[in-house]
C-alpha cells in the first residue's frame, strides 16, 4: 500500500533527538524497530508473501530516508532481535512479572477492542514482546497509545529491579481531508489517531499522504479540505504535517536544535495551509524524488 508521510515523523524525530543528545555530549545509539513478527504471526493476515515484500519495501525506503536526511540510525527487525539471548531473557522476566491485575488491565488498554479477544487468547503475546523490547532501551519513542505498554513496562521493571526507561510520545496522526464532523463521530480517532505505519489503517488510505503515490495536486486538495481548529487541544492534521516538514527542514539544514512552535501558527489557518504545502513539497517531496539533498 505504500509508506505514509506520517511515519517520517518518528524517523525524523528520532534522528534529530539523537543528534541533539550527541551535541549535548551523550553517546546515543538510535534504533528503529521494525515489528515484522507481529504482522507475520497474525493469524488473520493471509498474504504473508505480501508482508515480506512490504518489509523489504520499508527497509529500502528507510535506507533512502537515512541517506537523504543524513540520519545516524539503524533499523532492526523484531524477527532478528527475537533470536538474541538478551531479549529472550528479558521476555521471560516480563512474563514472570506480568500477572498482576494492574499490568493486565494496562495490557488490555494497549489493544483495540476488536483485537482484544485475539490478544487475550495469545496471552498478550505481542504486548509482552513489546515490553521486553522496550526494557532493553533507555528511551522509547512512540505514538500516545504506547503509554499503556510503558506503564506496564515500568511496573515490571520495578518488580524485577531492572533499569528504568523513559517514553516519549509523539502526537497522533490524523486523517487529512476530513471535516469537523468526522472527528465528532470518531472519538477513537480523536484520541489515538491512525496507525502511523499502516497506510490502510481504518480504511483511510485516501485521506493520508502516501509517499511516491500522492500527487502534489492531491496533497493540496487534502490540506485545503482538512479540518483545522485554532484550539490546540483538538486534532490538527495539517499542523502535524507542518511539523513533519519542519523536522525535515531542520535535518536538511543541519539545524539539530529541538523544535519549538508558537501557538500563533494555529491562528492563521490560511498561512498554515500554504506554508505546509510549500514545505512538504520543498523538504520532503523534492528531496525524496531526487534521492539526495
Amino acid at each position: 500500500m505504500g509508506v505514509t508521510i506520517d511515519s517520517l515523523k518518528y524517523y525524523f524525530f528520532l534522528g534529530l533527538f539523537q543528534k541533539f543528545l550527541r551535541q549535548a555530549g551523550l553517546n546515543v545509539e538510535a534504533v528503529i524497530n521494525i515489528a515484522d513478527t507481529a504482522s507475520i504471526t497474525n493469524r488473520e493476515v493471509d498474504d504473508k508473501e505480501g508482508l515480506y515484500s512490504l518489509r523489504s519495501q520499508r527497509v529500502s525506503f528507510l535506507e533512502k530516508i537515512i541517506r537523504v536526511y543524513g540520519l545516524d540510525i539503524k533499523a532492526i527487525f523484531m524477527s532478528e532481535f527475537a533470536e538474541k539471548v538478551e531479549y529472550r531473557q528479558k521476555l521471560e522476566t516480563v512474563k514472570n512479572y506480568s500477572n498482576s491485575k494492574t499490568v493486565k488491565s494496562l495490557l488490555e488498554k494497549t489493544v483495540l477492542r476488536n483485537r482484544l479477544k485475539q490478544e487475550k487468547d495469545s496471552g498478550y503475546r505481542y504486548s509482552l514482546e513489546e515490553i521486553a523490547l522496550s526494557l532493553l532501551f533507555n528511551i522509547k519513542i512512540g505514538p500516545p497509545r504506547e503509554i499503556y505498554y510503558d506503564k506496564a513496562a515500568l511496573i515490571v521493571s520495578k518488580k524485577s529491579e531492572g533499569d528504568t526507561f523513559f517514553g516519549i510520545y509523539l502526537t497522533p496522526t490524523y486523517p487529512l481531508g476530513k471535516n469537523f464532523a468526522y472527528f465528532i463521530i470518531h472519538p477513537d480517532i480523536e484520541q489515538f489517531g491512525v496507525t502511523p505505519y499502516k497506510a490502510g489503517s481504518n480504511k483511510l488510505e485516501d485521506f493520508r499522504i502516501i509517499l511516491g503515490k500522492t500527487s502534489i495536486g492531491k496533497l493540496e486538495e487534502l490540506i485545503n479540505t482538512s479540518f483545522i481548529s485554532t484550539n490546540p487541544a483538538l486534532p490538527n492534521p495539517v499542523f502535524d504535517l507542518y511539523v513533519i516538514s519542519d523536522l525535515a527542514r531542520k535535518l536538511l539544514t543541519k539545524d539539530y536544535s529541538l523544535p519549538v512552535y508558537s501557538l500563533s501558527l494555529l491562528k492563521n489557518i490560511s498561512f498554515l495551509k500554504t506554508e505546509t504545502i510549500e514545505n512538504v513539497i520543498k523538504y520532503i517531496y523534492k528531496p525524496l524524488s531526487e534521492g539526495q539533498i
Binding site: N179, F180, A181, Y182, F183, I184, I185, P187, F227, S229, N231, A233, L234
Partner: protein, 386 residues
Amino acid sequence: MNNNPTDLLEYKEKMEIKGKIDQYYKSQEMKNGLESLKRIKSYLPDTYKGLYIMRNIVFAHLDFGPILELAAEGREFTVVSGLNPSSPLHLGHKVLFDILLFLQSLGGRIFIPITNDESFVDGKTKSLSESRRIAYQEIIPSIIAFGFDPEKTHIFVDSDYPDLYNFAIHLSNKFSLPEVTTVFGENSLNTPGQIFYRSAVQMSQILMPQLPEFGGPKPVLIPVGVDQHPYILLARDTAKKMKLVPSSELVFKFLPSLRNPENKMSGSKPETAIYLTDTPDVIRHKIDKAYTGSLSSLTAHRKLGAIPEICSVFSLFFFHHPDKNLVSRIYRRYKSGKMTTSELKEIVKEFITNIILDHQDKKKNITANNINSFLLKKPLRSFLEY
C-alpha cells in the same frame, strides 16, 4: 456597613434556587444517559453553533454527530418536532421554532406534526374540531410567520392526515403496554385514546420520515425539552426493531415560567407565559408581575447584586436577544447590582414587545394559500402494499 441578615437570607434562598436549577439539568443529563454538548461544541465552527448552542440553552444530545456530518457535507438532514395546539403559541414555543429555523439554515428538512389529537385526548380542548380550528387559524399561521421555507417544511394536522394512523397501527405491535407505561407513567395513560396516542401515534410521527415515501431510513433529529427524553428512548428502541436509524436528539432547557424559574412557561397557565398574541399592555403587565433575580430592597440589590440565572425577566432577554455583547453587558450590570430590576424590565418590555408585534405583523399576512403550501399531503402506502 454590615449586610442586613434578612437580605442575606433572601440572597441565600435565591442562590439555592439557582443551585437547584443547575442540579436539575445536570441530573437529567446523567440520569437519562444523555451526552453533554461540550465536546461537540469545541469542534463546531461558529456558524453551526447558533444562539442556542452558544448559550448552552441546547445542552445535551444523543447521536447529533451523524446529523452534523450531513450538514457539514452540505447534505440535507431531517428534523421532526411536533406541537400540541391547545393554546396560542408563547415565547417558550418561539425557542423551539428558532432552533428549528437554525437547523433549517444548516440544511434541515423539517416535519411539524400539529398534534390536535393529543390536545383532545388530554382534555385540553373540548373537541377535535376545536383543536383543528386552533391549529389552522392560530398555530399554523403563527409557525409560518417565523419564516420557514415552504419547500423544506412539512406541516400536518394529525386528524387531517389519517395515513399517519395506519402507520401507527403498523407500529403498534412493536412495544408492549408495560413498556409504554414505564416510559410515560400511569397518570398520563388513563384512556384508550391516550395510550394509542402516546405510544403508536407519537412514534409514527417520529419515524414517518424514514418511510420509503420520504427516501427511506436516515438519521432524524428530534429537538426536545428534557422532560420529553423518554419518548425518544422509546422511539430509538422502536426504530431498531424496525431496522430504521435510531432517532437523534437535541435537548434544550425550558424558558422559565414568568412566575417561578423552576417551572417552564406553560400555555395552559396564562400568568406564566407571554403569548405571541398578547398586546403590548398585557406584555408590560406580565413582565411587571414576573419573578426576578434581585433582592426586595434596592440597597441590598445595589450591594449584593442580582442573580440573573433565576430571573424570569432576564431569561426572556437571554433566550431571545441575538446580540451576545448586549446580553453579556446587561448580565454583568444586573448581576453586579448596577442595573436595577426596573431598568432591566423596561429594556426587556421594549425588546419583547417589538419581537411580538413584528411576529403579529407577519402573521397577519399569512394567507390560506401560504398555509396550503406548507401542508403535507403525501399518501403513506408503503407499509400497506401487498
